[in-house]
């Protein structure tokens, strides 16, 4: 089991800055009630966040350039169709991975 000391410290600190935003709201909201307007705001977070993450995943970072990837868009089409018609997450992920493998095989 080889763990370098500098990597260990880096992982510990990166873990800490990841953990704090994860648990802080649970600690603060344990006793406090969320005001109505905040609750309304938070009800929009899932769709907006997943929308932003989905759109981000159609882009690639290459040579310092952040741009739309035709590979990803091609693979996304059957993926979106599978999500709509199957309503199954498993099928969507499997079709997504297979589509990407096919796109890369033929390009």
């Amino acid at each position: 089991m080889d763990i370098r000391q500098d990597v260990l410290i880096l992982i510990l600190l990166a873990g800490l800055v990841t953990w704090i935003p994860r648990v802080l709201p649970f600690i603060v909201l344990h006793r406090l009630k969320v005001p109505q307007v905040v609750a309304e705001f938070l009800s929009f977070v899932p769709v907006c966040l997943l929308g932003a993450l989905s759109i981000q995943s159609l882009f690639v970072h290459e040579a310092g350039q952040f741009s739309l990837s035709s590979e990803h868009i091609l693979a996304a089409v059957p993926t979106i169709l599978t999500a709509i018609f199957s309503r199954s997450l498993v099928s969507t992920v499997i079709v997504g991975v297979l589509s990407m493998a096919l796109v890369r095989y033929f390009s």
């Binding site: 649970f26 909201l29 969320v34 309304e40 997943l50 932003a52 993450l53 095989y105």
Partner: protein, 238 residues
């Protein structure tokens, strides 16, 4: 094992393939970038965030200073603050320790699965959440370690499209979320996604993609509140 823990485990199953796909590729890439399997495991145990682990690995490879790596990790993972804030009010009464446990293992995927459940209106039992989270956590650790061990053999994991598992999972989870809110606000959600997409593209010209995701989400959710209030004022006055 309580019943709700078990049904939490069940609720995790549809997302498992995504964790495995992306976990294996994170492990392979970690190994290829010079991390040992033990270091990859430690990262999955203590950081437990897919996108951040990819980024840390690539920053380590380019010799980025530790302070910059930690700051980047914080920015990439700060969206968890929003997710935890949105999740916390939907969890049934439980001790603080249970809630810290839930927050510690919250991911994009477990958040989305829980929010789809919460849109039914009922509070979420802590044990259900633990079942969901712990299944995902163990799957992630096992997949990344498997990837790191296989690392030597699998030269180019991208060839198999495994890196697209995460993207496909986001697309699937987004669709399920829209579907679960269909009766409440289908058109508004559609408009918000277009807005968020546009904001993301615009913002990514000025800042990191992760920061652009965070800001676009904040703007989109604010717009959601403003538009839905405006609609309800308009319909009640006419």
């Amino acid at each position: 094992m309580t019943d709700s823990f078990r049904s939490g485990v069940k609720a995790c199953i549809p997302t498992i393939f995504g964790y495995v796909g992306i976990g294996i590729s994170a492990g392979v890439i970690g190994r290829a970038s010079g991390l040992s399997p033990a270091e990859v495991a430690l990262m999955s145990i203590l950081i437990y965030a897919g996108a951040a682990q990819f980024i840390i690995t690539s920053l380590l490879l380019t010799g980025t200073p530790a302070s910059a790596i930690i700051l980047t990790t914080f920015v990439v993972n700060s969206r968890h603050l929003l997710m935890s804030m949105a999740t916390a009010p939907h969890v049934e009464r439980a001790t603080l320790l249970h809630k810290i446990g839930i927050g510690s293992l919250l991911t994009d995927e477990s958040f989305a699965v829980a929010m789809t459940r919460a849109s039914g209106g009922d509070k979420i039992p802590a044990n259900w959440f633990h079942g969901l989270n712990i299944t995902a956590y163990l799957t992630w650790i096992a997949s990344t370690v498997l990837g790191a061990v296989l690392g030597g053999q699998l030269a180019n994991p991208d060839r198999f499209g495994l890196d697209f598992a995460l993207s496909a999972m986001f697309i699937g989870l987004l669709y399920l979320q829209i579907e679960s809110e269909r009766a409440k606000r289908l058109l508004l959600n559609g408009a918000l996604i277009v807005l968020v997409g546009g904001m993301f593209v615009l913002l990514s010209k000025f800042t990191s993609p992760e920061m652009a995701v965070l800001c676009a989400t904040l703007l989109g959710s604010t717009a959601g509140v403003v538009i839905s209030r405006w609609i309800s004022v308009k319909t009640s006055s006419s």
